[in-house]
């Protein structure tokens, strides 16, 4: 273990690590480029390096990308990867309030904490954690997906039912292409490009970038840029004490680590569950979705803890815990290193150097994040007429690069316009994205569990397994808690206890506030906006 630490601290290895972290931040912050793609692009270059250097760089890239994806999520409300979906819920409202730099610093700080905790867990607890991951079978993955969707439906938007409907629509979209079992093609409408399903980055870019661009265009007459530039001094000093809530950090790190080790579950679920728990236990739960720093911290800590944790089953069992770890597994094999318990005996220097690189990489993420935050945050002051076409150009690259197919660009745009229309009728788009992410896990879990049930009973397979029972209880508790808390909120509103300092912000959820029907003949707010628009047009 100590040899590994010393190896990772060699100047040359530190340089590779820094290069990996910087490359990862760049890959993560460009929508459409994922940590998987970044690690895959890097693997060929590691052939010519010695194994330790190559793996150190791959580890740095993975950790860097997990932070990098929070940058567009916070600044322009477009998650760089699925993992930062929950980060955007509060990161972007913070930016709109002129606290973009605070959001970025909170994100890099919590990313560093998450990566260090996940890395230490990987270092010390690999064998028992790997054993825990083996307890999760198809029924458990099915219920885990259902739990995540229920949570998403309850935390996003004002209506639980619309959130659940959006999640179901996302799951339905995930079934496009060749069926999990049977090999039939579904919902392809004779388009061969849809045979492989809808690519996830295409969905993410479409659902988040296009509606956001249209909203910027719609609001350009009243708002010439996303927000104001955060020029206050001592942002780091002011942000860290608020971000460093030990309970939130500890809870999110543990959740990220535990969920991260489950093969296929991954960091988006970890971030979402952690965000939900932070909201549930927070004294400022009404600030969540409106720019609560705790929300950014919870999501980023968990998704960064999940990254090293996903290496636990990869290194100990040879079962990749996530897509980037599958690529890293390939790199290990190409260097002649076979995963398993033996790996820690035969090549401890290389394995432990790789694990230490992920921990040190977490610390480097904090340094890089703090140093670059003043530069990065300047994007919020870029005028809409420059920002919008630039993001549109990026969106084209991101959606085209996945499969080198112009069809994906068209699909991204169609999904984007559909997403825009959905937000206009009060349907949040985040559950749609999560549904597409979780669809394959839920469907294959259901399919395999049904096959298992043929030999026994549905009750035994779906309900009576201890982890399944626990997940069902959590799902039910989540629904009950949502219904009760919303009812209490509505009662408070009716009683006029609404805090005037906490106005509803439609940007949080893509919804607009209810507008009381005015008596006939009286001007409405909408009319006022229209009048303003027309007078501006006339003046031009």
């Amino acid at each position: 273990m100590i040899e590994g630490l010393l190896a990772s601290l060699q100047p040359m290895h530190l340089l590779y690590l820094l290069g990996g972290v910087l490359g990862g931040v760049l890959v993560g912050c460009l929508p459409g480029l994922t940590a998987t793609m970044g690690t895959a692009l890097l693997v060929p270059f590691t052939f010519v390096m010695e194994p330790t250097a190559g793996l150190v760089m791959l580890g740095g890239l993975y950790i860097g990308a997990m932070y990098g994806d929070a940058i567009p999520a916070c600044l322009v409300n477009i998650p760089g990867t699925p993992s930062s979906l929950a980060t955007s819920f509060d990161g972007f409202p913070m930016t709109e309030k002129g606290q973009g730099r605070r959001a970025l610093i909170a994100a890099c700080f919590s990313s560093a904490v998450g990566a260090v905790v996940g890395g230490v867990a990987l270092l010390l607890l690999s064998p028992p954690l790997a054993a825990l991951s083996l307890q999760f079978g198809p029924p458990e993955f099915f219920w885990l997906g259902i739990l995540a969707l229920t949570i998403m439906g309850s935390i996003v938007g004002k209506s639980f039912l619309r959130g659940i409907g959006a999640g179901m629509f996302g799951l339905l979209l995930s079934t496009i292409g060749v069926a999990v079992s049977g090999g039939e093609t579904r919902f392809t409408f004779d388009q061969y490009q849809l045979m492989g399903g809808i690519s996830l980055p295409v969905v993410l870019i479409g659902l988040f970038a296009i509606p956001q661009l249209i909203k910027l265009i719609e609001g350009r007459r009243t708002k010439s840029s996303i927000g104001t530039l955060d020029r206050e001094k001592g942002v780091l000093r002011k942000t860290l004490p608020r971000a460093a809530n030990p309970v939130n950090l500890a809870r999110s790190s543990v959740l990220g680590t535990v969920i991260g080790i489950l093969p296929g579950a991954g960091s988006p679920i970890a971030a979402l569950i952690s965000y939900n728990e932070a909201k549930r236990w927070s004294r400022n739960k009404r600030q969540f979705g409106k720019g609560a720093i705790e929300g950014v911290v919870a999501s980023e800590t968990a998704n960064n803890a999940a990254a090293p944790a996903s290496m636990v089953p990869t290194l100990t069992l040879g079962v990749p815990g996530s897509s980037p770890s599958a690529v890293i597994l390939g790199a290990l094999l190409l260097h002649g290193l076979r995963p398993g318990g033996e790996l820690f005996q035969t090549n401890p220097d290389i394995v432990y150097a790789f694990i230490w690189a992920m921990i040190i990489g977490g610390l480097l993420v904090f340094v890089v994040g703090v140093l670059f935050s003043p530069l990065l945050v300047s994007v919020v002051a870029v005028p809409v007429q420059i920002l919008v076409p630039a993001i549109a150009g990026l969106a084209v690259v991101g959606s085209f690069a996945i499969r080198n197919n112009i069809f994906d660009v068209y699909l991204m745009f169609i999904i984007g316009v559909a997403g825009y229309l959905l937000t206009k009728v009060g349907v949040p788009v985040a559950p749609v994205a999560l549904g597409i992410i979780l669809g394959p896990i839920v469907e294959s879990g259901l399919d395999t569990a049904l096959s298992m049930a043929q030999g026994s009973s549905y009750m035994e397979v779906f309900v009576l397994r201890p982890i399944s029972a626990g997940l069902i209880l959590l799902t039910v508790a989540s629904i009950v808690w949502t219904v009760l808390s919303r009812r209490a909120e509505r009662r408070r509103q009716l009683a006029g206890e609404d805090d005037p300092d906490e106005p509803e912000d439609p940007a949080d959820t893509g919804e607009e506030p209810d507008v009381p029907e005015p008596p006939r003949g009286e001007p409405t707010g909408q009319a006022t906006v229209e009048e303003t628009d027309q007078s501006e047009v006339r003046s031009r």
Binding site: L33, L41, S159, L161, R162, G165, M168, F169, L172, T175, G182, E184, R186, F187, L213, I214, I217, E218, G219, R221, V384, Q385, I386, V388, P389, A390, A392, G393, V396, V397, F400, A401, N404, V409, Y410, F413, V417, Y420, L422, K424, V425, G426, V427, V442, L450, Q493, E511, E512, D514, V515, P516, E517, P519, G525, Q526, V529, D533, Q534, E536, R540
Partner: protein, 159 residues
Amino acid sequence: MTTQTDQTSPIEGVLNYNLFSGLAFFLLGAGALQAGGSWGERAWLFPNVLSTGLIVVGAVLVVSALLKRGRQRMFPSWGAAVDAAWFIAAVVGYFVILGGLGYLVATITFMFAVSLVLGGRPTLLSLAIKLLSSAAGAMALYALFALLLNVPLPEGTWL
């Protein structure tokens, strides 16, 4: 919270999020049921459950819209709607020329067109600045992806 006043007409009174989202879910579910009826049992099970669920959720939302009446403002002002419509048209135009002209030239054209429409009254100097900044922006994207990261970009007659 939905509200209702005596002045609301019967049709206007139900024009809210629940009605439109409910109808959308209902139609999506019904369409999916219609599209997938002929598949095998294993392939159809999951989409069938989801389609039925969407129909149920949609129906509940529509019923709740009818019971809890109240109009909500869902659509932007006229000016904003026109802006959104032309932007969507501009993006469609961008995609049309993308395949023919290639990423670099199409992106310069698109960026220039958008900055032209969104910017104020054009002067010769502002036009030159917009053209140069569009070219610089598109070239920066091209250099970053095509040259530095080796990511393939849509190709056409030109770059």
